[in-house]
Amino acid sequence: MEHPPPIRSFLDKTADPDNVVINIGPSHPATHGTIQIVAELDGETVKRADVHCGYLHRGFEKESENQTYHKVIPYTDRLNYCSALNNNFVYAEAVEKLLGITITPRCRVLRTLLCEYNRIADHITCVAASVMEMGGMTAFLYMMTVRDYIFEHLNHLTGARLTYSYVRIGGLARDLPDGWLARLEEILQFAERYLERIHGMLDRNRIFIDRTRNVAKMTTEHALYWGFTGPTLRSTGLAMDLRKDAPYLAYPELDFEVPVGINGDNYDRYYVRMREVDESISMVRQCVRMLPGGPVSVDDPRVTLPEKERVYTEIEALITHFKLIMEGIRVPAGEVYVAHEAPNGELGFYLVSDGSARPYKLHVRSPSFVHMGGMHTLLEGYQVADVVPTFGSMNMVGGECDR
């Protein structure tokens, strides 16, 4: 080989010579991104596994130290790209906490609605991709249709199908267009019909149960020791959810329950995600009912761009606009850690500011990275063919894992 390998596995030296060491390489069919698993096999059983991530490291933290606070927003989109709005909102809340801004009630409820809407999209992507890897193309095609309608709908709102960059510090980019809420209800009914079909196809399917029951089991102790959060932890039976424990945005006013599993195996993770989609659909409907009127961005000259008519006619508005765009927002010095319940688990942003217009340090506590740290314990002892469903049920999103 012409170039040196980019990783070094401990299995090179410590593997038993009678066992085979295989490489489930970074470019593999499981469409969940670039993870390399070097596994030591005894026949079909995985004896030890060495998980290597980092093939999608894009230097998010270094980039964000060189951009202004608004310019970081598109970078945060690309972290967990299946549910980009969740990442946007955590970042905006961290900056708003340092600035001391309270967002408007309409913005609060809209952000909650969009968080749950994106959670639906993320969970159905995870279920669809993992079922497709097990061979069931039908679920994939149904769910991709639903997801495409969601994408087009959000395209109508934000301008982009996947990486929205819809949030602004202090609010949102723009308000809802006409007819958006009516179409939302249509999409939710469409999603419910298709989810019924998925339930009917998978819940009691002999093959699906054989492949996922009692595979990659874990206990709550094990999960907490290895740092799992989110649906993976809830599938073990512990109802730990940041939306209930430390409610943020409009979650204190919403009525929902937190689904938990029993065994902590792949089937439970699938079922917890499906139940969470049901809960999210009901939460979206509640948000639509309780959506108040009013402005969507807070009227603070430190962060909000003034309206275009004033910019073209008044000199102060022009100068404010110019300074906000060219220099950026000045955030007072301080540090803050904000965590939300992203679809994968606890997504935390640790922001350190030194008073200038660029973040001094912006660290992302990403759930997928920590899950990859513990995933080898779920692979060892099971068969090679179980690697793919287990990996799929973790919902490792490459952008979040490697940042």
């Binding site: 012409e2 093939y55 994408f151």
Partner: protein
């Protein structure tokens, strides 16, 4: 002589027709564009209409390498290896802004465009590109494939005929 030229252009058209409608992509999926790749292969925007539906997940059996998403420096040797393992004829599509030129990442970790390490036939801009862009790109690639010459006689290389 004109008959020979007619036959050879028809031969080129036939080979081009066969190749362009039976593309087997190898989706080298890394990042967010992968979501759009999944969307473009499924029901609403379908690549099966163009013959490019069945992804072959080994490079030996595929002929279109779709590099979907950001390629970092750590991933670059893997990409080069996969490209080298593919057999002729092969085409490369750089899907997305990050594969084309590094996207908006200009730092120590991102390869600034895959054409620094492998030759690329078609670039699809967008972050991520809309599925219609991808379908447009597949159609343009099919036009490019159908225009390729496959000379077997000496006179074909000396006097190429444009169709």
């Amino acid at each position: 002589m004109a008959m020979m030229e007619y036959m050879t252009t028809k031969k080129d058209e036939l080979v081009g027709w066969i190749r362009k409608f039976s593309l087997f992509p190898y989706p080298f999926v890394t990042a967010c564009c992968g979501m759009e790749f999944m969307a473009v292969s499924s029901t609403l925007y379908d690549t099966d209409r163009f013959g490019a539906a069945l992804p072959r997940f080994t490079p030996r059996q595929s002929d279109l390498l779709m590099v979907v998403g950001t390629v970092s420096h750590k991933e670059a040797p893997i990409l080069k290896r996969v490209y080298d393992q593919m057999c002729e004829p092969k085409w490369v599509m750089a899907f997305g802004a990050c594969a084309t030129s590094g996207g908006f990442y200009r730092n120590y970790a991102v390869l600034q465009g895959i054409d620094k390490i492998i030759p690329v036939d078609i670039y699809v801009p967008g972050c991520p590109p809309r599925p219609e862009s991808v379908i447009d790109a597949i159609m343009m690639l099919q036009d490019k494939i159908s225009r390729e010459r496959h000379p077997i006689f000496p006179f074909e290389e000396q006097q190429p005929v444009k169709t």
